[in-house]
Symmetry: C2
């Protein structure tokens, strides 16, 4: 048997293990120092009560013969897909039920969708980027080209017709930069994809953080997108489902390449390699879209948004350039004093005990940038940003 040698081209990701190592070393030598973590992308608030109650009820139903559920439809139960359909309709996106696939998370589907594409396609990925887009394509041996996201374009690169790509990754609101494409910008990408017979993989995992009514929450708000795009969404950040696991993927019926309908291919892929999401989790997800659930998750998002405001208001006062924070839980700031991101990481850790994520971990264009997240507590975020301000102000005098 010959193993898939493309795996030899993967680099080990040392980002989060290296962060953990440096934090652990620091804690050992400075056991008295308090550490505030603002680097992780995981939520901290518990599941809202209506989701918990729905899952408890579902577990109970599974224990009784007359309400037991065995194998469900691989693409998800209609009771949940109808809620998702209605959610899209609020943004004037009309979807057929058959276009919505419930999954165990956006990460799974973003990886698995590549089954549908030939290995000879060229992939266009922004730098900096969520490393999963890169690694999943390296595993298949696809050619990857990078498009620069940087301060000049506000970390929102636009299409370039001199670059030919078949598969395009767009994440908006972006991880790690928090930047969000507007309608006109997304339209340029849709037009580029249609012109070049490319497919856009649109990662909308952070859409629920968008407050600005003018910003698109779904690529399907853009005319023509159903002819060129697949959208991935998740309840991880929307409803704190990082450990509960539920997402959804939209594959338009009209989307076709080489005479092959991607919706039909994805249904075939999922019915062959997947058996659907746990009934209990789908009942919890249904509660997210119900009236009480919507109200409760809005409160949670407002809580995280408060943190984002605390961070951006401190950066505004310090005159530090950043993207994100307004319509995203991520704040992507330029390291002060021209520092590189790992040096800045060490400075924040050793001087004030604050842990963020060095931008270099997301690509070469992140080398002078730094990611802070809004998922800590209000209290710790306030404390961290006060220390941050005084450190930078002190440093500004010193440097």
């Amino acid at each position: 048997m010959r193993a898939n040698i493309n795996y030899n081209h993967l680099k080990e990701s040392y980002l989060f293990s290296e962060i953990a190592r440096r934090v652990s070393d620091f804690s050992k030598t400075h056991p008295e120092k308090e550490i505030i973590r603002m680097g992780i992308g995981d939520v901290t608030l518990p599941l809202c009560s209506s989701v918990v109650e729905a899952m408890k009820q579902a577990a109970e139903d599974m224990g009784k013969a007359d309400s037991f559920h065995g194998y469900g439809p691989e693409q998800g139960y209609d009771f949940l897909r109808e809620k998702m359909q209605a959610y899209y309709a609020e943004n004037n996106v009309a979807l057929e039920l058959s276009e919505i696939f419930v999954s165990d998370g956006a990460k799974s589907d973003l990886g698995n969708i590549l089954d549908l594409f030939d290995k000879e396609n060229t992939v266009l990925i922004p730098d900096p980027v969520y490393p999963v887009y890169v690694d999943t394509n390296l595993m298949d041996g696809r050619k990857i080209i990078f498009t620069d996201a940087n301060k000049n374009n506000g970390f929102l690169p636009l299409p370039d017709d001199s670059v030919l790509a078949d598969i395009i990754y767009i994440c908006s609101p972006n991880n790690p930069t928090g930047a969000v494409y507007n309608r006109e910008q997304l339209k340029l990408w849709v037009e580029y994809a249609l012109r070049n017979h490319a497919v856009i993989l649109f990662d909308a995992a952070y859409e629920s953080f968008i407050v600005d009514k003018d910003l698109p929450r779904s690529i399907f708000e853009i005319d023509g997108a159903k002819n060129c795009a697949i959208e991935f969404c998740s309840l991880s950040k929307t409803a704190g489902f990082t450990g509960t696991r539920c997402g959804y993927t939209v594959v338009p019926q009209i989307l076709e390449f080489d005479g092959m309908k991607l919706n039909h291919m994805w249904l075939r892929r999922q019915t062959t390699k997947f058996n659907g999401v746990s009934y209990i989790v789908q009942k919890g997800a249904e509660a997210v879209f119900a009236k009480d659930g919507r109200k409760q998750i809005k409160e949670n998002i407002a809580y995280y948004r408060k943190n984002a405001e605390i961070i951006t208001s401190a950066l505004d006062k310090l005159g530090i350039w950043y993207t994100g924070g307004k319509n995203s839980p991520y704040i992507w700031l330029r390291c002060p004093f021209g520092l590189d991101s790992w040096t800045f990481f060490d400075m924040l850790l050793s001087e004030i005990g604050v842990v963020g994520t060095p931008g270099a971990g997301f690509g070469k264009n992140g080398e002078k940038f730094f990611r802070l997240t809004a998922f800590s507590t209000n209290e710790n975020t306030t404390k961290a940003m006060e220390k941050f301000r005084s450190l930078i102000e002190k440093g500004a005098g010193r440097l």
Copy 2:
């Protein structure tokens, strides 16, 4: 973008939809006739109480800040993997924790594991077979060769050194035939794989139905298997998890091809394309392996085994040849009167309202065979087999 044209080589599976169509047509023309379903592979008994209680508790924990769980380890929580490790130890199989990967089911892992293998490998699949093995390899464009399972070899084909294969599928207890390999037979497969540098994908989803102490429940009970095999297991049939979703896959640390460790590759695959199983489901799965859970699921399996006995005892009395039923929930019988499987299907449906699965749906060697499952109620199974006996006895006189 070029789509994966291998999908054009997939045949639509009409088996279960065709069964549903024929049953529906019959019910319309004969609304007064009772239908007993003995064709499906889905469980019918509800989850046992200790699993339900564990999941309710876990859902509650997720609703409180101090017991909330966000992202978990992609390969599963240690609390569950330790239980699985102990379960293997009962059969004298010593596993390292890092060799066990918790998943959302055997079907997902059986499909996704192919990511690790080059597309140029040749695949050996028994006929008749669970169609997923075939379809997942067609999607990748791999060459497939079939090995005949038939009445002569008791539907347990043995290796043939004149046939060169790189990837070998073995399902024991088998779906659809219920046949189970003994130690000596599995040893021949392990030796063949080691001789030919092949990997065995061992599907042990039905291991909990084995009662005969001499039959292996895991391929790792065979010397040398850790150098050539990956094992897939599931709680679907063991604990009624078809709608709850949890399985596990064992990839030995020692397993290596082309200098690449498959365990390390699978960990990389799972951390890149998967985010772990829901915490709530993993807590439910943990309860399956605890003392009360073990006792409760044993009662459920005994209930299904009773059905298998009702079926096999009727077949014994009628002198009908079959495999399975003793150490498996499936009974694979030779169609009486030399009928082909779809004709026999129509006869059972129209004469006695019993629905089974025509063997032809699983491959050419199933054309004269028929699958009955033990997942109905005791009452219905008894009723169905009484009707079955009188039908066959009547038919024997008539034909």
